[in-house]
Symmetry: C3
Subunit: 276 residues, 3 copies
């Protein structure tokens, strides 16, 4: 029995490793080193840059753009908008990670402004962040950058948000959920140890950027699910080869780098579901 | 024979792992990733944020605040003061790491201003940094961010500084020394390998923040010593399981995550001493 | 048969471990943690600082200065120039890493300005970056921070650039090439796995800074080759003890820390060559 999403995952990874697409990342100070290493382990090439003077030039030779508001200031939000607009003009996919959305007015306003001004392709967050985006100003309870909600509880919100915005929404958690507001996909790969290492959510966003960078048929829904399946499976293998969060992170980079086609075909657990 | 400080250490760690307190960290670019991972390995939750616009909001839901001047600029010092004042209003413990105090006028002025304007609870530094703070403008010899002094040589300075400021002072080194200017505690756990990895001093400060975040009886002297004992013991175990600074850091995160109650009760070496 | 460059490598490393020279690093956000750890593993002491107010003070007690434009903004370029001028006055070696030179006008202008205003001692880059520097405004094709050129293809450019500028130029790649425009040296130590980990090029620059910091006979050509040989050999050993980019980085820090005199004398492969 063939699994078309697993096959697509294998094909996209092959293309990444063949073309080494350049991934422009405007991201937070905490995870820059991790997401650069994750980008390289996947087979793509990272460029971190945020100076307003070079946003246009760098967008000019990048294949995907990651926007991550983890340690935002107004200057950095402006960097994101400059780069995002240029990426939009060139048809380059833009992946938004709304870290801590709902936690402070600064973050809510930044996310609103980015979504208004930049043609974002995919938004990936935890359940609380996605709930916050879908609540449009209605007060909800968020605490810092952790999720207080479960993925299951906010699936409907994600589905309607995706439909309304015309974007892909991905919620990561125990079981990841990806939707475009029409079709929806569940990703069952992953491991609880991810939450004991900083930047692993941001790393999932990085994986999505790498996969979308080489997705030429514009099926970003499947590319997003493929990225999360591959990334989650690498986490499973890392957990089998480690004994705590330090060795897990090391093993995660190794697993992303070494993951074979056969292991992916055997163990990827990604499936389309009917939400309604 | 029971050891009340070891018992308190076990209890505080249990509370951290139960409540996952949010630790707001305004810290330097070099160690942000490390201290976020150390926070998670201990069982707490890190939030790194420095934008002036959200300092009040983030202080509003945090349980401790770390201020670390490692790569300071005037903007970041202002972030620290904004967040510190709000933390003070809410009775949230503030832990100051005066990295490189004594090395440049910018750092001395920043530390002076923070101590003047923010109700700092604990100051943790190496011997040179604490000597610099206690010298009040008298010239002393400091070189960069390393300590040229031993902990033993500046114990009296720390004791009198703590007494004068009404704060907890912790000096880390071969044997750590913690004092409130009345009572003093020695922490004999630790390992020389800590000094071969960047950010391990800042990591000790992080551990103090996590332990103070759940200390509801306001005994921050014991909570600080408990944090240093637990952190130092994790370093001992990491050294037993590594063969250089790279594998030491990995093993440190694993050890912080896995440290058991039994190992702590067996190996914690923390004791109150009479300084005068 | 003795190898004088290998012997000099051993001697310089011994001096680093004896004197722990302070290396001031104005570098990018992605690699700060890595290069601080590499500095410590080598035996030197890192200080990362960029605030304009303390550039002069920090240059006043540092033994080498690294300038790396990876995530530059105009503020940071100004920090580099302030620190570089002071280092120049004091005769402290300045090591420039022109990350992404040729990729954007901002980077080209920054490199031009730094070379004009600061007495840079050594420039280390990949082949594309060095080609870009030697092309003086003639358009060449660069993509992001990766090299599209081979070291061999741009040796002549490096030789003439070194001659014209009166500086040491080092190109790292499969075989490293170091020249002062008169004499040239090849370094055959290294491993392909370096390119799967972020910041390893910047780490090579760090190693050069550490070696130049203790080179008192002003033979910075040999000191640069020595640093690259030692660093490349540590990478070879790391590759023997790892199974992917995560464990490679960990093993690299361990190898830098543990590399013995005997292993260096046996395995360093550095030799002077006749280019013309």
């Amino acid at each position: 029995m063939t699994n078309p999403i697993a096959e697509k995952t294998v094909q996209l990874l092959k293309k990444i490793r063949e073309h080494h697409p350049l991934i422009h990342q405007i991201t937070n100070f905490v995870v820059m080193n991790s997401t650069a290493n994750i980008t390289l382990a996947i087979g793509a090439s990272p460029i971190m840059a945020h100076s307003h003077e070079e946003m246009e030039a760098i967008s000019g030779f990048s294949s995907a753009l990651t926007l991550n508001i983890g340690t935002l200031t107004p200057y950095w939000v402006e960097s994101m908008i400059k780069a995002g607009k240029e990426a939009g003009k060139r048809g380059v996919p833009v992946i938004l990670d709304p870290v801590g959305a709902g936690a402070t007015p600064l973050r809510d306003e930044a996310v609103r402004q980015i979504i208004d001004e930049v043609p974002v392709t995919v938004i990936r967050g935890n359940a609380s962040e996605i709930l916050s985006l879908s609540s449009q100003g209605k007060e909800i309870k968020i605490r810092g950058v952790d999720s207080l909600e479960t993925v299951e509880a906010v699936r409907d919100n994600a589905f309607h948000l995706a439909h309304r915005l015309g974007k892909i929404i991905a919620i990561t958690g125990k079981v990841d959920f990806v939707t475009d507001g029409h079709k929806s996909i569940e990703v069952h790969n992953g491991h609880a140890m991810f939450s004991a290492v900083t930047g692993t959510g941001c790393g999932a966003t990085t994986a999505i950027s790498c996969f979308c960078a080489v997705e030429k048929e514009k099926d970003f829904l499947t590319a997003t699910a493929a990225a999360l399946g591959y990334y989650g499976l690498a986490g499973e293998i890392a957990a089998e080869n480690s004994k705590g969060p330090g060795s897990f992170q090391v093993a995660l980079y190794d697993a992303l780098y070494n993951l074979s086609e056969k292991t992916m075909m055997d163990r990827l657990n990604i499936k389309e579901i009917q939400l309604h």
